[in-house]
């Protein structure tokens, strides 16, 4: 079992530093859901296919090697709301050891 520390600021502004497993083939959206840091039904609605932007997050520190945005992710963010320059879809970020110390904030939910 190999875990990394990630800090996630929830939609209420509370920071949670959690252990995320690197050996369970999880992505960041799944980690947020597994720790119940966003209300179920408001995140990961499409199941992680970059189809809904409900898992949008803001990357707060930049020393990490995040995967390049795919065309699908770019397309989705292009149509999403509350998008900033540091927006990513958390479902498109696999949990790897490179993300040790990552800090993110979950984007607001749409009604």
């Amino acid at each position: 079992m190999s875990d990394i520390k990630i800090t996630i600021i929830d939609r209420q502004g509370e920071a949670h530093t959690i252990d995320a497993p690197t050996d369970m083939n999880m992505n960041l959206m799944e980690v947020i859901r597994s720790y119940e840091l966003a209300e179920e039904g408001t995140i990961g609605i499409c199941g992680g296919m970059a189809m809904c932007a409900s898992c949008q997050c803001y990357i707060l520190n930049f020393e990490h090697m995040l995967p390049e945005k795919s065309i699908e992710e770019e397309d989705m963010l292009d149509q999403a709301f509350f998008v900033e320059d540091n927006s990513r879809l958390s479902c498109q970020i696999p949990i790897t050891e490179d993300l040790e110390g990552l800090e993110i904030r979950i984007a607001p939910a749409l009604e």
Binding site: G41, I45, G47, D75, D78, F81
Partner: protein, 353 residues
């Protein structure tokens, strides 16, 4: 009026497999789907994506899975109402339900099965305060009749194909077309992007990039939008307009089903999973991704399982005086409503010595 034994709302994999399970129990099915073809998300969104967790298929493309399901249910001759969204449901005195679509097609059945997946895809509405107050009063999310915009001022928002294509089209219809996009880059088809740039240069489209519509103005009717520029030096500008059309793609929503009096939890329909996936309204079932219960997994696999369990209960509801004994298809084969019969050849059935 279309009459059937089991009315299924949603023609995704779970809804399609429910036709098979119902068919084994001699129940005829009719399916309603807002999409123009069966298969739900599998056909509409990711037909070429491989799925790896369908039992017996190490790998199957989503589109091929749908084709196989359609082949599997063919003997049971399901009816389809496609391209229409289930809008209303009314319980009748005899206990049956009448479900009517947005196009007015009525269907009657003793049981209704909601297999709506993520729901129907509806236009994504921008988070602008009070936007709902201007819907049909200058704000529209879909262009149904372009003539509405003839000689009017129109502001379109978005950066995808829809926003580009409608800007191009309305440039020849409307008095003035402004296209507002959050970024300089557009993600639509290259020729559409080039055409918009060209029309912008000759003044047929007012292209406003690095900006967003943040507020709407007007007393009972839209008469202006407030545009905020990314560049703080440019700040905000109030733009007079007759129409505002935000085109930000589609997002899944439960839709009208949410107003049917069903118990909704976490944007899904709550069911009794200890028995038969029935909702809080007897005679209405919910299976697949649309339902929720303790331990729910949103997998096609689970939708198939739920379809099989649900059909047993639905059969009992439709035939309260009959006793059904479950049969294996290896024993009883599959007898279609079309007169077809599939069964194992004698020589492949080993005898027990």
């Amino acid at each position: 009026m279309i009459k059937t034994d089991m009315l299924i709302i949603g023609a995704g994999p779970t809804g399609l497999f429910a036709v098979f399970e119902a068919g084994l129990l001699k129940m005829k099915c009719h399916l309603i789907d807002a999409l123009p073809q069966p298969g739900g998300q599998c056909s509409e969104i990711y037909p070429k994506k491989p799925i790896y967790d369908i039992p017996g298929f190490p790998e199957v493309l989503a589109g091929d899975l749908v084709d196989n399901l359609m082949e599997q249910i063919k003997p049971f001759e399901p009816g389809f109402t496609l391209g229409e969204r289930a809008e209303t449901i009314e319980k009748q005195e005899d206990g049956s339900f009448i479900v009517t679509t947005n196009k007015g097609t009525s269907h009657q059945a003793p049981v209704v099965v909601i297999a709506g997946g993520l729901g129907s895809f509806e236009p994504r509405k921008p988070p602008i305060k009070g936007i709902q107050d201007y819907e049909d009063k200058g704000v529209a999310y879909i262009i149904r009749d372009p003539e509405v915009y003839r000689d009017k001022k129109v502001v379109i928002a978005g950066g995808g194909d829809s926003a580009l294509d409608w800007s191009i089209f309305l440039a020849d219809v409307a008095k003035e077309v402004s296209l507002v996009h959050r970024r300089k880059d557009f993600r639509g088809a290259l020729d559409s992007v080039e055409k918009v740039e060209e029309l912008s240069k000759i003044g047929k489209i007012n292209l406003i990039t690095d900006a967003e519509v943040v507020d709407l103005k007007g007393e009972g009717q839209l008469d202006a939008v407030l545009i905020r520029h990314k560049d703080e030096a440019r700040g905000e500008e109030l733009k007079e307009t007759d129409h505002f059309i935000p085109l930000f793609g589609l997002s899944p929503k439960l839709g009208p089903i949410a107003n049917w009096g069903l118990e909704i939890e976490k944007n899904a329909i709550k069911v009794d999973n200890t028995y038969d996936y029935q909702t809080n309204i007897p005679g209405i079932y919910a299976i697949g991704d649309v339902n929720t219960y303790k331990g729910k997994l949103k997998l096609i696999l689970c939708g198939f399982h739920e379809a099989a369990i649900m059909c047993q209960s639905a059969y009992q509801k439709i035939n309260p005086d009959k006793k059904y004994v479950m049969k294996y298809t290896t024993v009883s084969g599959v007898s279609g409503f079309d007169g077809s019969k599939k069964e194992a050849k004698r020589e492949v059935v080993k005898s027990i010595n």
